[in-house]
Subunit: 203 residues, 2 copies
DNA sequence: ACCTGAACACCGTTCAAGT
DNA sequence: ACCTGAACACCGTTCAAGT
């Protein structure tokens, strides 16, 4: 009946996936500052250096975790029409996904992209270009919306901030108010080019 | 002429101020992940435990650094009139100040407030209430604007993001576009109470 | 009051060695 | 191919001891 301190590891194989799962468990339990390869390895009943066969180093693991979150957010967002609704959906999905794991905003801001940034930018901008924005506009607006969302969640996940702010403002409501203000305030043709609206070829 | 490896410390006394200054130097040189008490102590020609007489621990030092940044931002902002202009000034001053030090956004998001949050909230909300907002509105709008600003600067300071995004978008311009959209989109009387606009006492 | 020296527990990472 | 054991450099923190 004693099943502790033995390397049985309940039949689970060690690979990137199981390491990622264990890493998220440690993150939720200890927070971003307490996330260590040693605790991840312990949870997998493995010696720490074993992780290095499947993952380059701790920074790379963090990058993979952040990429996992971005993927999840990307999965449930689309289905909205028009670039404004797409931006709203992107932000809400991102916040929803991030709130699934403790300190995910700080983790994301500590990570660097695993894919080629050009590919990421293309995938994220394409649906907005389709919705009537220029390429530059799409990237610029995305940057603003993502910055707002990640910044907001970072404060929402900060223990001392949350503890106090929660009794002063309603987090979901204030988030929505700010988000709608931001997206609603973004203009379709950029304000700079507002003069040459006379002769654009019909779609 | 040899003036290295000697504990002369050029007449500077060790106190909170000098520790803070040295900590910012280390932050700028090594980044947030490389910020350590040992490097701070080394720069002050002092043994690491000496720092603990003036500062409770590393977390406390980070809190003090973040508070220093907030203070600086608070100093040069005001002078604008109307709550919208005050929010714009707050955001721009915050970004300007943060860009003075490497990784300051991530540092701020890792910190907890040193002052009583009630006092902070009061100081930050008061000028906006004076500008015509309710207390709750003021806090909510501030939260959105600060989240946007810190989130934006976090990405702006992230090396890999910057390296790629810098050639796709203009950082200051996109920041301004998003900021004006956000602040411009916030309504004076909340959208919920948009029905009782008929009889407000003149200013 | 203020700082040093030595120590402790924890960390990321490397590498020879096992299987 | 995949993992262990042992080691290294670095870290935050504590504490007796010096002045």
């Amino acid at each position: 009946m004693r099943q502790e301190s033995k390397p049985l590891r309940e039949g689970s194989k060690l690979d990137r996936g199981s390491i990622l799962a264990a890493a998220f468990e440690v993150l939720d339990a200890e927070g971003f500052d307490g996330l260590s390869l040693r605790l991840v390895a312990e949870r997998l009943r493995v010696q720490t250096p074993a992780l290095y066969w499947h993952v380059e180093n701790k920074a790379s693991l963090i990058n993979l975790m952040a990429a996992t979150i971005s993927e999840m957010a990307n999965r449930d967002k689309d289905r909205a029409r028009g670039w404004r609704n797409k931006l709203l959906a992107l932000s809400r999905a991102l916040r929803r996904t991030m709130l699934l794991h403790r300190d995910s905003a700080r983790l994301s801001l500590a990570a660097s992209p695993v894919e080629d940034p050009r590919v990421i930018a293309e995938r994220i901008a394409a649906p907005l270009v389709e919705g009537g924005l220029s390429h530059r506009q799409a990237l610029s607006y995305c940057a603003s919306v993502i910055a707002y969302t990640v910044g907001w969640v970072a404060y929402e996940q900060s223990q001392p901030m949350h503890k106090f702010l929660a009794q002063m403002i309603d987090f979901p409501e204030s988030f929505e108010t700010g988000l709608r203000a931001l997206v609603g305030g973004l203009t379709n043709p950029p304000a700079v080019a507002a003069r040459n609206v006379k002769s654009s070829p019909g779609p």
